[in-house]
């Protein structure tokens, strides 16, 4: 597939005050985004450059980042599934399963916190969690650094991009830079909002009205990302000991809350929920129509919807209009 990455060269004024010297300052980039989108937040300590993105993409697809060289990031984030995983739980090394569904990485650069429970603060630091987790890539960072350093091509690339060799800092920067370029937009719904009224059919428009009204989806799935990035308990019954964000904060009010995911490309990102328990959008709608399971700490926003069968189908039809044209298409795993 042809990668289409819109990169505009910014002046060094963008970097004034950052104190960044060396290769990273030579050709900093600004990422183009669809109309109506905020700029992708790019931290000053990790500017985007074409070479860095190339390096990050290569690392993203490199199975040597896992203990037994069987798993890469792309092994659980499939480009043709909007960089999500069509399996409920992603198998790691030795076939080990985790407890959460791999979320989509599309527009991940906009997220304030990473993971279903917001456990990671930055996209840079986030990469180490799956690399180190024994049920994912199970990789010792010291061994990983030696593997990367032993590859003359990587040694050269890291030096060209960062002015230094592979390290935890440069590895995480490269991966984060690539992931920030994974953007999407331009769905039929976007075109409708821009004034192209013919972009949605009558059924889809009825679905949109339900989304914003009776079905109450927009109370959480709003904004240009179709998520408010809040942590909510949407009435999913617990499976096992996963307590959601409470695992991070230890707060009772965070029991079974998970980050509200973006609904962009929801047609492509089945299965659904934090553990991939719902195979279809019909399953999802049925859950919300029931008013959740009444589990402890369920959000009061989750109430029975009393949708008719026709309304359910209209709502699903609308959800399918949220499928974007992916801006970045990369190398298949």
């Amino acid at each position: 597939m042809t990668r289409v990455v819109y990169i505009a060269v910014a002046t060094l004024l963008l970097l004034s005050g950052c104190g960044i010297a060396g290769p990273e300052a030579r050709d900093p980039a600004v990422l183009d985004v669809p109309e109506g989108f905020d700029p992708v937040p790019i931290p000053s300590h990790n500017p985007i450059t074409a070479a860095k993105v190339d390096l990050g993409e290569r690392l993203f697809h490199d199975r040597r980042l896992s203990e037994d060289r069987s798993i890469s990031c792309a092994s659980c984030h499939f480009e043709n599934a909007a960089f999500a995983d069509p399996r409920p739980l992603s198998p790691g090394v030795h076939g080990r399963l985790g407890i959460r569904n791999s979320p989509s990485l599309v527009n991940v650069g906009y997220l304030d916190l990473l993971f279903w429970d917001g456990g990671s603060f930055t996209l840079e630091a986030q990469a180490l969690a799956p690399i180190e987790a024994d049920f994912e890539m199970n990789m010792n960072l010291g061994v990983l650094m030696e593997r990367l350093k032993a590859d003359p091509a990587y040694a050269r690339e890291f030096e060209d991009v960062f002015g230094e060799g592979p390290s935890v800092a440069t590895l995480t920067k490269a991966l984060a830079a690539f992931q920030r370029t994974i953007r999407s937009g331009g769905s039929r719904y976007d075109r409708y909002l821009a004034g192209q009224t013919s972009a949605l059919s009558a059924a889809e428009r009825r679905g949109m009205d339900l989304y914003n009204g009776k079905a109450n989806c927009a109370s959480c799935h709003n904004g240009f990302l179709l998520t408010n990035q809040a942590f909510e308990n949407n009435g999913i019954e617990p499976a096992g000991s996963d307590s959601g964000r409470a695992r991070i904060t230890g707060l009772p009010e965070d029991f079974l809350t998970f980050r509200v995911p973006s609904l962009r490309n929801v047609e492509k990102t089945a299965p659904y929920m934090h553990d991939g328990r719902f195979q279809t959008l019909d399953d999802v709608i049925a859950h919300y129509d029931r008013g959740g399971s009444g589990v402890r700490n369920q959000s009061p926003q989750i109430q029975p919807l009393q949708l008719t069968e026709s309304e359910k189908q209209d709502l699903i039809a609308f959800l399918k209009t949220l499928t974007d044209d992916i801006i970045l298409t990369g190398i298949s795993p």
Partner: protein, 294 residues
């Protein structure tokens, strides 16, 4: 110790001399006083002695024995080994004999972080942080400059708290104690917090004398940090400039039965009872072995 005073009252009156002395009082004396009060850049002290470059040695123990990986120890009747034994110490304060506090700081480092509202910020870490990697032996750390003189205590925190514990560990300089370590993990990437105490090892669960089951106690989170104060008189001087702290890792796990499957693995939230037992022992594991030459 009080600063020396320069008495001018005995000097005879001479206008020219008086002008000269006025100039001296105006310009030279303040310089003299400032130079007496100048401290080393690593210490913030209200004392006045000459700064001394001090190191901190943290020695790992297992009960009365020096801690060493590969050694089999008796722990509550069971054989155990230690593979990892590391502890984060921070917020060091030395108290002088006249009650002044000397806080130890370090070269500031600015890194990406999240504030308490989960907003992106940069944060400057200037607190002196020590990662004692006692599975590798004695942990020797440059402490910085502190005023020479008599002290009555040293206090520190077991752990890293507050904004210091909400940073991106991947972006520290490679030699900084808070950088992401590449041998034994020191920071929960999945939960964005430092592991204050990390102990890993094996235990003999079937009583045949050979260790066979992995155990680990990883403790973090602000609420689990503990302050330690070692009340001991000591003197810091040019020839007495290494502070020797001993940490008994067996004390941390003193109340655990490592042969019990329910007391073999904790990372805090996944086994709160086991974690609580370890946390309750954090502040009692440290002693001051002395202050001596390096």
């Amino acid at each position: 110790m009080q600063p020396p005073l320069v008495h001018l009252a005995a000097i005879p009156h001479d206008p020219h001399f008086a002008m000269t002395m006025k100039a001296l009082r105006t310009f030279l004396l303040p310089i003299l006083f400032v130079s007496v009060f100048l401290m080393g850049c690593d210490a913030d002290s209200t004392g006045s002695s000459e700064p001394v470059d001090v190191s901190l040695a943290v020695q790992g123990m297992f009960g009365s024995q020096s801690l060493a990986t590969g050694t089999t120890y008796d722990h509550n009747g069971a054989n155990v080994t230690i593979e990892a034994a590391r502890v984060y110490l921070s917020d060091f304060v030395l108290t002088t004999a006249d009650g002044q506090e000397v806080a130890v700081t370090s070269e500031p480092v600015t890194v990406p972080a999240k504030n308490e509202n989960d907003e992106d910020i940069t944060h400057t870490v200037s607190d002196k942080v020590v990662l004692a990697k006692n599975d590798l032996g004695m942990s020797e750390n440059h402490f910085g400059e502190v005023p020479a003189g008599d002290y009555t205590s040293i206090s520190f925190r077991v752990g890293i708290v507050g904004q210091d514990n909400r940073v991106d560990p991947t972006q520290f300089p490679a030699t900084h104690p808070m950088t992401k370590q590449t041998d034994f993990n020191n920071h929960w990437s999945w939960a964005s917090g430092y592991i204050y105490l990390r102990m890993d090892g094996e235990v003999d669960t079937d009583g045949d004398g050979a260790v066979d089951t992995h155990w680990e106690a990883h403790i973090g989170r602000d609420a689990n940090a503990r302050m330690v104060t070692l009340d001991t008189d000591f003197t810091v001087s040019e020839t007495n400039n290494q502070i020797h702290v001993m940490v008994d890792y067996q004390h941390f796990i003193e109340t655990l039965d490592l042969t019990n499957p329910e007391e073999q693995i904790t990372h805090g939230m996944d086994n709160p009872p086991m974690a609580a037992k370890v946390v309750s022992m954090l502040d009692g594991a440290f002693t001051l072995g002395g202050v001596h030459g390096q």
